[in-house]
């Protein structure tokens, strides 16, 4: 537990020490939103609004998590290899990536609504929509952490994340799109809650799988 807390702190420290990495991810997300703004000005159709927001979030997630293993130095990895268990290491990665993705997702939602309007969402449905963004971001983090770990081991590096990750994210995207489209349509939360529960079960399953499979990737 102590080691886990230390590893999470270490991830944050590493990230803030390399400010350019965070800056590049933020720049990617914000500039994509700005490009969409230049192309469409204001989106009134709630389906289009929803679809574009999730496309931006999907590619931001690939961008952010795709490099979470490749930025480490080899010597550092050798040091961690001798001191902590792989399960602790990957749990720290999962927690850090989830937190990072939630912050990035909420930020993207804010900037997106600032530029392109709220797409007919309104303040009443905003709460459940934020829940959707949080769960979706955690889902991206859970799914892509192991994929990024696999991609970092290949000879082609982080470009592999997209090849391996895109087909695999489709189930997640299908669930989260159904959840958020139903929010936009104004369907009450009670009739929509099974989607978010389903997403939660999928996330727990993914965390379990990552926890079990990561130790095999750890040594090379």
């Amino acid at each position: 537990m102590k080691a886990l807390m230390y590893l999470i702190k270490h991830e944050f420290r590493m990230e803030f020490r390399q400010k350019y990495a965070i800056a590049s991810i933020l720049l990617f997300t914000v500039s994509t939103i700005y490009v969409v703004y230049q192309a469409m000005k204001k989106i009134d159709d709630s389906n289009v609004w929803n679809a574009i927001l999730w496309i931006i979030l999907l590619f931001s997630a690939f961008n952010a998590i795709g490099k979470s293993f490749s930025t480490e130095q080899r010597s550092l990895r050798m040091y961690l290899y001798t001191t902590v268990k792989p399960q602790q290491f990957v749990l720290a990665k999962l927690i850090y990536n989830s937190l990072f993705m939630v912050v990035l997702g909420l930020l993207a939602l804010g900037v997106f609504s600032l530029f392109l309007g709220d797409g007919g969402l309104g303040p009443l449905k905003l709460g459940t929509y934020i829940l959707g963004v949080v769960m979706g971001s955690v889902g991206f983090a859970c799914l892509l952490t192991l994929i990024a770990g696999i991609a970092a081991q290949t000879d082609s590096g982080s470009g592999m994340t997209a090849v391996l990750g895109l087909p695999i994210t489709i189930p997640l995207i299908l669930i989260i799109m159904r959840f958020t489209t139903q929010i936009m349509k104004g369907i009450p939360f009670e009739d929509n809650v099974q989607n978010i529960l389903y997403l939660g079960v999928l996330n727990v399953g993914l965390i379990g799988l990552t926890y079990l499979l990561f130790p095999y990737l750890w040594r090379d």
Partner: protein, 345 residues
């Protein structure tokens, strides 16, 4: 020779399936009418049938609203081989609803065509309605001939059932072998299990492509498009993409041991997500595909005994064929290993 029995069985089953699924005729049925709306009073319509014995003297035609209300018609003449002209008188206060056609003779049994006509008249009723003077005891007879069951819209393409569905069963069987091999590789790191997983995925991908092609052709003839946006079809395409990604992943790693381990990890991860995508998600949303989203699968009520006699051997035959090709592929990989690295596995 003794261990070859299952290969012989596979060949015999597939020959049997191919011959039967193309030679057994399609059962009789009604495929259309020349007009779709009825007027009160006397109506004369031409009914188009398929493979039915219209020349039989005991042929009877009924109009039905539900399971107990039928109106008798008078058979006028047989226009040509498949067409029949019938006449009936519809009372003005008949219900405003749709009418089914039931055709009946001892040889063909009862042929059912749902929602053939609509009747909408200001004087029509919406309540219960009873026709007297019609003997309804003869409907719902069994077809006595040996044939593949007639289904509206599907017609002759029902023969594709022996090819399209077993392709996916075979693919799942092979991907199951790949999953078990990957799990065993992670537990004991023997090259043999890695080669097995690779061979199974390669052959499974071939069956996946065949399943997509046969499904696409079937969709063109029944739904009207080569591809429709449907959870089941999306799942099939994603399956294909994931296993192509598996092959790409293998090719991008040079070191043998590392490649085997990483590919095994990806295979297990992908299979679990595929399971969610193919088995769980389609049940939560609407789908055109039989067996999903509240649609009945074929075996609910359409798969009669004739079809079963061909369908089950087809499934077994195709799975055996898949396993056979998988074994050949595996032997090839073993020989390559031995040839290049002089390594016995």
């Amino acid at each position: 020779m003794r261990h070859l029995w299952w290969k012989v069985l596979c060949g015999l089953l597939l020959a049997y399936v191919t011959v039967f699924s193309f030679i057994v005729p399609l059962g009789p049925g009604v495929i259309g009418v020349d007009q779709t709306s009825l007027s009160s009073g006397e109506n004369t319509v031409i009914i188009q049938s398929y493979n039915a014995h219209l020349e039989e003297s005991d042929l009877q035609v009924f109009l039905g609203i539900n399971d107990s209300t039928y109106l008798c018609t008078e058979v006028l003449e047989q226009v040509d081989n498949d067409k029949l002209k019938v006449r009936f008188t519809l009372p003005q206060d008949a219900p405003n609803t749709s009418f089914n056609i039931l055709m009946n003779n001892a040889k063909d049994g009862t042929m059912f065509f749902p929602n053939a006509f609509r009747y909408a008249d200001a004087a029509g009723t919406s309540g219960d309605f009873e026709w007297s003077s019609c003997p309804v005891s003869v409907v719902n007879q069994e077809n006595t001939g040996f044939s593949i069951p007639f289904q509206p819209i599907i017609y002759e393409t029902i023969r594709n059932l022996m090819f399209h569905v077993p392709m996916w069963f075979t693919m799942f069987f092979l991907m199951g072998i790949a999953l078990v091999s990957s799990l065993r590789y992670l537990s004991n790191s023997k090259t043999e299990h890695d080669l097995r997983a690779l061979a199974a995925v390669q052959v499974g991908l071939v069956f996946c492509v065949l399943g997509l092609i046969t499904g696409s052709v079937w969709a063109r003839f029944t739904w009207g498009a080569w591809w429709v946006n449907d959870p089941q079809l999306n799942g099939a395409l994603v399956t294909f993409l994931i296993y192509v990604a598996y092959i790409i992943l293998r090719n991008s790693i040079e070191d043998d041991q590392k490649r085997a381990k990483i590919a095994a990890v990806f295979n297990i991860f992908a299979f679990v997500i595929l399971f969610v995508l193919l088995m769980v998600l389609p049940r939560f949303s609407e789908s055109l595909h039989p067996g999903k989203g509240g649609n009945p699968a074929f075996n609910k009520y359409d798969l009669d005994n004739t079809l079963r006699m061909v369908f089950y051997p087809a499934v077994i035959g195709w799975i055996l064929l898949g396993y056979w090709i998988y074994q050949l592929r595996l032997r090839l990989h073993r020989i390559e290993k031995k040839f290049y690295y002089n390594e016995n596995v």
